[in-house]
Each structure stands twice: as C-alpha cells, then as structure tokens.
C-alpha cells in the first residue's frame, strides 16, 4: 500500500508521530489554527513550508509578486518553469503536495486589500515582507485586531525576528513593544524598492530601472560594470518601461538615477533566510499552542533577536515600549481638517501649513491601508476628490521639516458635501 492510499486519519497519525513525542505538543491545536503569511519570498517560502509540515490547519498566503529567475536561489518552492506565475499561487500548490491534509488559501494582492473579516479569523500574522511601509501597516493591522504579529527580515549575512504581542492577550504573554515602537518614523522614499523582486509590472521608478536592466542584459549580455553609455541607454529603456506600465505616467530618468538604483541591490543567502525563518516559525508554533491553552515554551525574551551568520552570533535586544507610540501606546490625538468638496491640493496645503507640514514635500499615504497618494515633490494636480478621497479619512504625512528633521503625523481630512 502506498502512502497516498492510506486512510486520511491513519496517514496523519504517521505524519505527525514524532511531533506527538514532544512534551506539551498538541497536534489538534496546531491543526485548528490559522496563520497568515504576508510575503512569499525567501522568508515566506521557508516559513510556509515549516508551518505546513508542522500541520498548521489553515495557511493564508499573500503576495502580489510573480516569480523571477533571481528568486530561485532562495525561494525553493519555485522552479524555472514557474517564471511569471504568482508566488502565492505556486507556493500553495507546492505546499499542498507536501501536506495535502491542510487548507491553504492564497491572495495575489496586497494584504491591505484583504477583507478584514478574513484577517480577524487568523491566529497569528507573519511578516516576510520586503517593504518597511508594509511592515508598518501589518503591525498596525495586527495591533488593531488584537493579533500576535511576528516580523522577520534578512539582508546579507544578517537577519532578525521580532515577536509583537498586543495588549490584552494574556494567554500568549506580556505585551511587547510593537514594530512602530522600534522605528517611530518610516524610512525615506529612496528605500522603497522591494528587496528581492521585480514585480511583473513596474509600479514605481525603481522597478522601471530594474526592468530596464533586465532588457539591457538580454540585449547586450551580462556586464560586470556599467559605463556611462550603458547607464544612459538603460535610462532611456526605463522611460519606455514607464510608458507601458499601467500604474505609471511617463517618467524621465538620468544615468545617475540608474546608477543609484542599481547600487542599492541587497545581498541575500538561502542559509540565513532558513535560520531566521526557522526561528520565526517556531515562535509561531509556541504562540499557537498558548492560544489554545497549551505550552511548549514562552516567546523569545527580549522580543527582538538578531542572527549574524558571519560570526554565528545570536543577539537578543531589549527594547522598551514607547508610551507615545501611535500604534500600541497612548493613542495619538488625531486632528481633523475640514475642506470643501471641491478643495484642491493647494487648499489642503494651506490648511496644513499650521501643522508645520509642507504638503508638497511630504510623502502622503492613506492610514487605513498604507496606499500611496503621492511621493515627495510629486503632488498630482486637481481636486482632492480626484484622488478617490471622499467623506472622511485619515491621511499619514511623512515629511522633512525646513531644519532637516523628519516627522510623521496623521490627520483626518473631512470633505464637506458639495451643495
């Protein structure tokens, strides 16, 4: 009799036989759990494999990107033939081959676009994200819904895990500092490009340049070092990429833009990702057990742990909760600005000048889902309602003051109905 033809219950008994020998382990609790993994890149592939083979009953995979050849050295769930397919979809297929006894759903969109009710059903939110702003949003979402959020990141020989336990989740443990306590202000927009992937369609300037490099290499062959002529040619290709990108209007590039962007490439290695992901996955399993009234150990304490593969060093870092944190601390007083229905960006700019915010130089996003309204210096023309803002909504302004200091403020913008 082959393994596949074994009755389901019997197959599961065999599959998880070694788990059951662990002190405190409860396979039923794990099977009854749901974990959402945002980002199915190098970390997400490892984490989802660990949780699927541990028998987590329902995995929700979220990633809007498609598979590229450069992913294959780290993202082991994917094969050459998968190029161009959605990561979340392919990962779901491969994980079900590994463990057909679990449920997997996948979303090929931003996690911010998923129905809140779906996220409310999740036990733990996991971040394997390559964008700082997405981490801010996931952290806020988890805190708002009272869910544990476990974040991870990896660059070169280093990686880290942070466990965020919100208030009023005593069954899991004492509350810990959230991601925002650690990084009160998001990094500037020159760090926006995703860490490891060029998405199928260019969504910003950096993507255009990366696509241009791909096309350039395809036409000219790989070069070790680019000359000014190469960079100028790539700048022109990047412009053409922007024209055919549905999310962008025509962008213009200089050779220097290309050089700067290509110089921001980050190193990555599967071994480091595997270590970081294993630590994170085990923290998830511990939290799931505690949520279901079992105990296989407390969460890492301190809640932030860094791994440096170069020296084989694990370093825990004690971080204190920020009592002024706008996410987990004393809630920030959100001020409200009233504008007429047909108000322009200039009207908004005038209204916010009293807060010390130069609207035209600020990065402006929707607080609800982190969606970008405009980057610094690229304010769209026209009325505010043209941006899809109607009624009342909280906007997040990340800005640099005239003295060079950065700040962030959230303000509720309320549009009065036009008479």
């Amino acid at each position: 009799m082959s393994e596949g033809s074994l009755p389901n219950g019997f197959r599961e008994d065999l599959l998880y036989a070694r788990h059951r020998l662990l002190d405190g382990w409860d396979q039923v609790a794990i099977e009854g759990s749901t974990v959402l993994i945002a980002g199915i890149g190098a970390l997400g592939c490892e984490i989802s494999k660990n949780l699927a083979l541990s028998g987590v009953g329902h995995l929700i995979l979220v990633d809007m990107d498609t598979i590229e050849i450069s992913n294959l050295s780290r993202q082991f769930l994917f094969r050459y033939g998968d190029r161009g397919r959605y990561k979340a979809e392919v990962a779901a297929e491969r994980l079900l081959e590994m463990n057909p006894d679990i449920d997997i759903t996948f979303h090929t969109c931003k996690f911010q676009e998923i129905d809140t009710e779906v996220i409310r059903s999740v036990d733990v939110l996991v971040g394997g994200l390559d964008s700082f702003n997405a981490r801010f949003d996931l952290n806020r979402l988890a805190n708002g819904l009272g869910k544990v959020y476990i974040d991870s990141a990896s660059t070169g020989f280093k990686g880290n895990v942070q466990v965020v336990v919100p208030d009023d989740l005593d069954v899991v443990g004492d509350p810990t500092p959230c991601f925002r306590c650690f990084y009160p202000v998001p990094p500037s927009d020159d760090m926006w490009a995703p860490a490891c992937t060029v998405p199928g369609e260019a969504r910003n300037r950096a993507h255009c340049i990366l696509k241009a490099e791909e096309e350039y290499i395809s036409d000219h062959g790989k070069k070790d070092e680019y000359t000014p002529d190469d960079l100028t040619e790539m700048a022109e290709i990047a412009r053409q990429v922007s024209i055919r990108s549905p999310h962008l209007s025509e962008e213009h590039f200089k050779a220097g833009d290309v050089e700067n962007t290509l110089g921001n490439k980050l190193p990555a290695l599967i071994t480091v990702n595997a270590v970081v992901s294993a630590i994170l996955s085990h923290e998830v399993l511990k939290v799931l057990h505690r949520i279901h009234g079992h105990d296989i150990g407390p969460s890492i304490d301190p809640s932030y742990l860094e791994y440096n593969a170069e020296y084989g060093i694990f370093t825990p870092l004690e971080i204190k909760r920020d009592p002024e944190c706008p996410v987990c601390g004393a809630s920030e007083e959100i001020e409200e600005v009233l504008l007429s229905g047909g108000a322009s960006i200039d009207d908004l700019s005038t209204a916010l000048s009293g807060y010390g915010i130069e609207v035209r130089k600020a990065l402006v996003t929707r607080s609800l889902n982190g969606a970008l309204l405009w980057p610094p210096g690229k304010v769209p023309d026209g009325a505010i309602s043209d941006l899809g803002l109607e009624g009342s909504e909280i906007l997040r302004f990340t800005y640099t003051n005239s003295d060079g200091q950065r700040g962030q403020k959230e303000i509720r913008i309320t549009m009065e109905a036009e008479q």
């Binding site: 280093k158 880290n160 009160p184 990094p187 440096n308 020296y311």
Partner: protein, 88 residues
C-alpha cells in the same frame, strides 16, 4: 566635542565597537548619518540607535537624550541596528 561608544549589533566587540565624535548640537538623525558613514552601512538599510532599550527618535538632540538617560562614557555603549528597509 563629546565622544560616544557605538556597538553594531551582531558583531563581536572587536569588529563592532567604534568611538565616534558627535557634535553637541547634532540630532539623532544627524548622528545616524555619521554612524552610517563610519560603519559603511548600505544606504538601502535603515538604521536605529538604541540606548538602554530605548530607540532614539530622529528629532531628539543626541547629546541631550544621552545625558537624560545618564550615559556613562566609561562603560556604556549605544547599540546600532541595521535592517532591510527596501533595497533591491
């Protein structure tokens, strides 16, 4: 100008410890630029300075914050953390 001891997280003391002069008027954001230069940190990484478990906010005056936190130049170090922010 005051000299402070920094320690890059994850590195052994010999490789990770540096002494840096930070101007008295420098904000934490200014100090981060000096730290980034000294440790040659990739611009695609975001850095955070932490002292006694407290991340130092960019707008804080660096020297004043450390004085308030009773920084002892003989034994204390400021932890430098670098983390992937974006990059490619």
């Amino acid at each position: 100008m005051p000299v402070y001891t920094f320690r890059m997280m994850g590195l052994p003391p010999k490789q990770g410890t540096r002494k840096l002069t930070i101007p008295a008027k420098a904000s934490c954001a200014d100090s981060k630029k000096l730290v980034r230069r000294e440790y040659k940190i990739n611009p695609a990484l975001v850095i955070q300075l932490v002292f006694k478990g407290q991340p130092i906010k960019d707008k804080e005056n660096f020297a004043r914050f450390l004085m308030k936190m009773k920084y002892d130049p003989k034994k204390d170090t400021i932890t430098v953390i670098s983390q992937q922010a974006g990059g490619i």
